[in-house]
């Protein structure tokens, strides 16, 4: 391999490896640090209503404040625009991250601050009607101090004081309002107060405090971690295999040179040290080069705007990269023993993976170590299986005569791992295609698949008073569903988390659910088990939901509504068409169960996009109603995906470059090996047509082996990512076949030419 090729291949491989790690790390570090910053030293109590009068008051030494989250709509340029509202009181615990465009970080009565996307619609000084209140725009939100809650919602954001919020009269009992009470001060005081609250708190109230570190900083990180874990096994193995192969080529050179140089009295150890130090230097040059370049890029682009945190993560990555490089270089000493490397390959991989995992996750609070090791062990076992299978094939084929032996020659020594490397590289591509291609087109495909006149408008927070007038303005077949916020707390009188421990991590059982009551089930719901309703009283659960919670027909569930507990028997299971774009509910009860509790109403219907303004005009009479336009949401999601696609494009480019280089190296190695074979057997005076035949067979088997491993790896990726996105990689398997066949044709021509020139 030439020096330039070697440098490029190693550089790209390292960049791919560390940038993948880096992206995940940086996102996690940023989210975690901001979460921790916001939550540090505080006790947070979240509930859907005001502080109950029978609850204990906070000690005077603790400072207390509150904020309210809800959503509504504002009239912007004649159109209703959905907004998310955060109302904060004057003692809201700002931690230096909340900043408005006018330089202030407090909000006065009657003022409002908006997210920047509303700047062109509402300039500073403009009046904005929100609910019943008219508020004056004082500026825009430059920095937000939190990541939970509203940042993840898709609507424009509005911030106001708590007093201003009261004047909007948007606080409707049973509506989607979340109130957060914050207490800060002495940690011991906080702990004592938390213990007092724990005695009176009901299930639908969330308490977060520093005494429960597992809750801090995890918001938003879980999903990223999952992606990372899914990818890490593959990435590690590819990198380690590449290093191993690299070591192999050095080993070969070192051994050959040692033989020659021993004739001149130079010791074997000295020769090998020369190679080790030289190659270590190479690896070091590569790693340090890309570290410096990446550092420069991060410094000057401020990619995520949180430089300090990224630098910390980056330093950690640099340490890992250097450690790996050192381990890689030192492991070259192992190859001095001629046969040891073959026997210790899997052991080496295992040790390196374990060491790396330890370095990387030793102090990881998210318990990722176990999962990552599990993933890599599974993949390593699969590879070990392939390795053993190939060895059995080699042994059998070697005994099958001349052609068997030449075919076996393909997979002797490290050749099969070269092929494996190609396969794994293709796996990389498939992963990026997944991001680049699939996610991007997911929404387009979904849009094409949904039938005409599928509901595209959702209305929520409809009050009982609004119902009669609103119904007259909606399409005639529109069905309106009552929504009661409630939480399932027990199954058959047993705490729900004891009944099914896995539910502790299930968001549906850690918050209020939207439940409805109906006399007859919605049209897009089918009863799969039990009966509805034939005079019975009870609840119907969605099939998957019930399965997750291990709830069966005839079980009695306890539901908590505003602190009151009621018991309902499960009388039916339902299949729900989630893509129907109709309001769907995990729990539907008969009217006698829930109809006496406070409720809001929701509905969905189709409204032509071209006439959307007329709808907003009509809905202007109902300011408390929140409108969700699916078209707008889809547009917004498309925008996000576009950014993702751009990132994926860069990744794909690196991957393709790497694959091209590696394939070029592999083909060179294959051709070189054929050249040796050709020279030797021709020296033994084997006829040229026999040589041609054996070389073509070797090439065919070599390429098909590559294809087989590619297909295996692609299927592996499909399996790995199936938890995230359900899709088939059949096309990649097909394209790979074409790719390999094409190489067979090209190589065949080259071989024919080479054989014809023998003896000339």
């Amino acid at each position: 391999m030439s020096s330039i090729k070697k440098f490029l291949t190693l550089s790209l491989l390292w960049i791919l490896f560390v940038s993948t790690l880096g992206v995940f790390e940086m996102v996690q570090v940023q989210i975690r640090s901001q979460n921790n910053l916001w939550n540090a030293g505080q006790l947070t109590v979240s509930m859907p209503d005001k502080w109950p009068s029978h609850w204990p008051d906070a000690p005077a030494s603790l400072s207390r404040s509150m904020s309210v989250y809800t959503n509504s709509a504002v009239l912007a340029n004649g159109q209703w625009k959905a907004i998310d509202i955060q109302a904060i009181d004057t003692s809201y615990p700002l931690v230096g991250e909340l900043l408005f465009s006018d330089g202030k970080s407090e909000i006065a009565l009657g003022d409002v601050y908006l997210s920047y996307d509303l700047k062109t619609i509402f300039p500073v000084g403009e009046r904005v009607q929100i609910g019943d209140a008219q508020l004056i725009v004082k500026g825009y939100i430059s920095k937000q101090d939190e990541l939970s809650g509203m940042k993840y919602l898709m609507n424009s954001k509005v911030m106001m004081s708590l007093d201003s919020f009261y004047t909007t009269k948007l606080w409707v009992p049973g509506s989607r309002v979340t109130i957060n009470y914050f207490f800060s001060g002495n940690p011991d005081e906080i702990k004592r107060f938390e213990n007092q609250l724990a005695k009176v708190a009901s299930d639908h109230i969330t308490i977060k405090s520093p005494s429960n570190p597992d809750t801090w900083g995890s918001i938003g990180v879980d999903r990223i971690s999952k992606w990372q874990e899914q990818m890490m096994g593959i990435i590690w193995l590819v990198t380690l295999i590449a290093l191993w192969i690299y070591g192999q080529s050095i080993r070969q050179n070192a051994l050959e040179s040692a033989k020659v140089l021993s004739g001149f009295g130079i010791s074997r150890l000295k020769t090998c040290w020369y190679f080790v130090s030289r190659e270590f230097f190479w690896l070091l040059v590569v790693v340090i080069s890309w570290l410096l370049v990446s550092n420069f890029v991060i410094d000057h682009l401020s990619l995520f705007g949180v430089e300090v945190e990224i630098k910390q993560g980056f330093l950690e990555l640099a340490m890992i990269a250097l450690s790996l490089t050192t381990i890689g270089a030192l492991s070259l000493f192992w190859v001095l023993s001629e046969h040891l490397i073959y026997r210790s390959f899997l052991g080496t991989i295992g040790i390196l993976i374990s060491l790396y995992a330890f370095l990387h996750y030793a102090d990881d609070p998210f318990n990722a170590l176990e999962q990552v090791v599990k993933q890599t062990v599974i993949i390593a076992l699969v590879l070990a299986g392939v390795y053993l299978l190939l060895n059995v094939i080699v042994a059998r084929m070697s005994r099958m005569g001349a052609y068997g032996l030449v075919v076996a020659n393909n997979i002797r020594f490290s050749q099969h791992f070269y092929t494996l490397l190609v396969a794994l590289m293709v796996t990389f591509i498939s992963s990026y295609i997944l991001i680049n291609h699939s996610l991007g087109s997911l929404i387009n495909r979904w849009e094409v698949q949904v039938p005409d006149k599928t509901p595209n408008i959702f209305l929520i927070n409809i009050t009982k008073e609004d119902l009669p007038n609103l119904s007259a303005k909606l399409p005639s077949d529109t069905h309106v569903y009552p929504v009661v916020r409630a939480r399932i707390t027990q199954v058959n009188n047993k705490d729900v988390f004891q009944h099914q421990p896995s539910l502790q991590y299930d968001p549906s059982f850690n918050r209020e659910l939207n439940m409805t009551y109906q006399d007859s089930l919605p049209r897009h719901n089918n009863v799969s088990e039990g009966k509805w309703r034939l005079g019975l009283s009870g609840a119907s659960l969605e099939e998957g939901f019930a399965k997750r919670a291990n709830i069966k027909l005839g079980d009695v569930i306890t539901v908590s509504i505003f602190g009151q507990l009621i018991q309902v028997e499960v009388i039916a299971m339902r299949q729900v068409k989630w893509q129907s774009m109709q309001p769907n509910f995990f729990v539907i009860t008969t009217p006698d169960v829930l109809s006496s509790y406070p409720a809001t109403w929701m509905t969905s219907f189709y409204w032509p996009s071209s006439q959307i303004n007329s709808l907003y005009d009509q809905l202007a009479l109902f300011p408390s109603i929140t409108v969700y336009s699916i078209d707008q949401i889809v547009q917004q999601v498309k925008g996000w995906l576009e950014t993702l696609k751009q990132l994926a494009n860069i990744y794909s480019l690196i991957s393709f470059g790497l694959v091209a280089l590696i394939i070029s190296n592999l083909l060179s190695a294959h051709i070189e090996r054929l050249g040796v074979f050709r020279k030797v057997v021709f020296s033994a005076l084997v006829p040229r047509h026999v040589i041609l035949k054996t070389e073509l067979i070797q090439t065919f088997v070599y390429m098909m082996l590559g294809y087989f491993l590619t297909a295996l790896c692609v299927l592996g990726v499909e399996w790995l990512v199936s938890g995230i996105v359900s899709m088939s990689f059949a096309n990649i398997v097909l394209y790979s076949l074409i790719f390999y066949l094409l190489f067979i044709v090209l190589l065949s021509g080259y071989i024919y030419r080479g054989v014809r020139r023998l003896g000339a």
């Binding site: 070697s398 001349a402 032996l405 005076l685 006829p687 026999v690 054996t694």
Partner: protein, 182 residues
């Protein structure tokens, strides 16, 4: 015998038919070998010759037995027969104990023995040797030269050996010294 550059290897290539003489003819068993076309020359080459090179030309990824056995099978010898011959010749050259060793684990002298076994297992009428001891030390040179001579006598194989080593040259029945053939 002759110094480097005198045309010894070219002479062997002419004998093998890899090169065609510009004038004159090469006759093998009365057949004008050098005037035949490529395919016929290849058939005759296969039938009459075997060759040993200075650089051994063995496949490093195969073991000793495979290096002798495989060319035989590719030359069209039946599998079982090739196996017998390979085993026989490895015994004759004293390499039977190393049959399962890989080539890169052998010394230069041992590799040349394998190369000789491979050539003689073909049962050629004429064995060509191109500087067969060129890469070996003095002790190995003597051993290989004697072995070659003995084996060819035993099998009544004509050995044409080009060398610049006087010791090797002296092992032959006839010595032709050349200063400059080309």
């Amino acid at each position: 015998m002759g110094p480097s550059g005198s045309g010894k290897t070219t002479f062997l290539q002419l004998l093998l038919g890899f090169k065609v003489p510009l004038s004159g003819e090469i006759l093998i068993d009365g057949c004008a070998f050098s005037t035949l076309n490529d395919d016929l020359r290849e058939k005759m080459r296969l039938q009459y010759f075997a060759i040993i090179y200075q650089d051994m030309r063995l496949i490093p990824s195969w073991n000793v037995f495979e290096n002798v056995w495989l060319p035989l099978t590719l030359q069209g010898v039946k599998r079982s027969q090739a196996q017998e011959r390979a085993e026989h010749w490895l015994v004759r050259v004293g390499m039977d104990q190393y049959a399962n060793r890989h080539i890169h684990a052998l010394s230069g002298g041992q590799q040349q023995r394998v190369s000789i076994a491979r050539a003689l297992a073909k049962e050629p009428k004429i064995l060509l040797a191109d500087e067969p001891t060129g890469n070996l030390d003095k002790g190995n040179t003597e051993r290989i030269a004697k072995l070659l001579g003995e084996l060819c006598k035993d099998t009544k194989t004509t050995l044409i050996c080009v060398t610049h080593d006087p010791f090797v040259g002296q092992q032959g029945d006839t010595i032709n010294s050349v200063d400059h053939w080309l």
